[in-house]
């Protein structure tokens, strides 16, 4: 049932990027995204520099380019949206291969595509070098709302338990001759979903009791201290700092 001993997105390794404390990497990825968004869309060269920066990070972390490209599929819905803009956009129009396109639309599409792609690649690199569990510990260390972090933690832990339960329910349905052919079978599936929800809810209550029994008072205790030295912070700061410099230089040139 469970797919290997690591999360699907994580690529085990022992590189300087893997070793950085998660809170540093989270801030670095976010800082990079902000810097990219602040870059003017006319500055083609600046985006080239950003791509180069990410390529260096990927090389240091030994993440194969093919893997990054494959995972960029998550961006496809945005791409479709961006491609539509030049056709439906207003304003000045130009002819490309006999098709009339909106000039502001083209700029907007490029802006979305370039910035989203850079952001997506940065988060792919973050996910590939940081275990989900560590990511949550990092988020906790960054004082993100404790309740949200705990919810994410429980999702991580119980996802496979709930999927397993859903799979058993499906097998039990099918063993009794159920086949989902068309809309008429929807009520059965809806009831199954309802039953799964109730079961998960009840499990939530039991887990809460188990937590209370071991002295839970509303706050997760700090079990692992995740110290980050200023050297680690400054190592992580290199990426956003360079991206920000690029953005500032590009702004002054445009």
């Amino acid at each position: 049932m469970s797919a290997g001993h690591h999360h699907a997105l994580y690529l085990p390794g022992d590189t300087p990027v893997h070793r950085l404390p998660p809170q540093c990497k989270l801030i670095a990825a976010m800082g990079f995204a902000v810097a990219v968004v602040a870059t003017p869309r006319e500055a083609w060269g600046a985006f080239g520099v950003d791509v180069l920066l990410l390529a260096v990070v990927a090389a240091v972390a030994r993440i194969p380019p093919a893997l990054v490209l494959r995972r960029m599929v998550v961006e496809v819905p945005f791409v479709l949206f961006a491609v539509a803009i030049p056709f439906i956009g207003l304003g000045e129009r130009i002819e490309v291969l006999g098709v009339s396109l909106s000039l502001p639309g083209l700029w907007a599409a490029w802006n979305i595509l370039a910035k989203a792609t850079l952001g997506v690649v940065a988060s792919i690199l973050l996910a590939a070098t940081t275990e989900p569990r560590m990511m949550l510990l990092g988020a906790e260390r960054l004082r993100l709302p404790a309740l949200l972090v705990q919810i994410a933690m429980f999702m991580l832990r119980y996802m496979s338990v709930i999927l397993d339960q859903a799979r058993r329910m499906r097998i039990a349905r099918e063993s009794r001759g159920f086949v989902a052919r068309d809309i008429r079978q929807a009520p059965v599936l809806a009831r199954s979903a309802g039953a799964l929800f109730i079961r998960s809810y009840e499990r939530g209550e039991r887990v809460h009791l188990a937590m209370l029994s071991r002295g839970y008072t509303g706050q997760m205790p700090v079990i692992d201290d995740l110290p980050a030295s200023w050297r680690q912070w400054s190592a992580a700061a290199v990426l956003p700092a360079l991206a920000l410099t690029t953005a500032v230089v590009a702004r002054s040139l445009v």
Partner: protein, 255 residues
């Protein structure tokens, strides 16, 4: 503190006149009295719906008594003593997936003591010791959902041992275990030097592990005595919907 049953030894758990009705009016317990002295291993037997789980929920204050008292090593279960009570009473739930909620085994075992304020090397020592006692030390850094059911149950015991409880309360410890896991868990429980209250309807398991048994039936303690003699009393068992497995004779199993 009330004196122990006869020899004056320390009392781990004292329940007197405990009655409880659920909010919907269903009365589950009708005045339960029991005393367990330190170091004893006692089985609480009873059919489904006898009120076993309800009783267990009172032992660490998850449910609060409608009537009567629960005392753990002399400390009454009250709102202001809950923290200490929950340290003293280690509850092992029936479904280890309910008990193990942290991303790794090590963090899960550390959860209890960390809530009590234990940190650093001291915490590490407690975790290592507890996992070692259940033979799961090498699984420390694995996520709980990658362990077998039997291993998860053992880790669940460790999560409670790490809190160094006065009394270990196990809810159906043998349920869903294959024979080998069942034997391994029995071995572990036998070697622990803590007071154990084991809630079960697995009578051979009670005979193997516990000198003394209580029968909880229709919300009261219906019998209290040596496990062997209780299990030899066919009429008593039949009256409380308890049954030995086919072909099992307690007399054929010397201790």
């Amino acid at each position: 503190m009330t004196p122990g049953s006869d020899s004056g030894t320390a009392v781990s758990l004292q329940v007197s006149g405990l009655a409880y009705a659920y909010p919907d009016g269903t009365q589950a317990l009708f005045g339960v009295d029991l005393t367990i002295t330190r170091g004893e291993r006692v089985a609480l037997l009873g059919p489904n719906g006898a009120g076993k789980t309800t009783l267990v929920m009172h032992l660490n204050g998850i449910l609060t008594a409608g009537h009567g008292t629960v005392e753990v090593a002399g400390l009454p279960v009250r709102a202001d003593t809950l923290r200490e009570i929950r340290r003293r009473v280690g509850l092992v739930f029936q479904d280890p997936d309910d008990q193990l909620f942290m991303p790794t085994v090590r963090e899960d075992v550390a959860f209890g003591p960390a809530n009590l304020g234990v940190r650093g090397a001291d915490l590490e020592r407690r975790v290592t010791h507890a996992l070692d006692r259940v033979g799961m030390l090498e699984a420390a850094n694995r996520p709980p959902h990658h362990l077998s059911f039997g291993q998860r149950r053992r880790v669940a015991v460790a999560t409670v041992l790490a809190m160094e409880p006065e009394i270990l309360v196990l809810d159906e410890p043998s349920s869903n275990l294959d024979p080998a896991s069942r034997r391994e868990l029995a071995q572990i429980l036998k070697n622990l030097d803590v007071t154990v209250l084991m809630v079960t309807h697995d009578l051979p398991y009670a005979l193997e592990l516990c000198e003394r048994s209580l029968i909880l039936s229709r919300g009261v303690i219906a019998a209290d005595g040596a496990t062997r003699s209780l299990l030899a009393d066919d009429e008593l068992l039949a009256a409380h919907r308890l049954e030995l497995p086919y072909g099992f004779a307690p007399s054929a199993h010397p201790r």
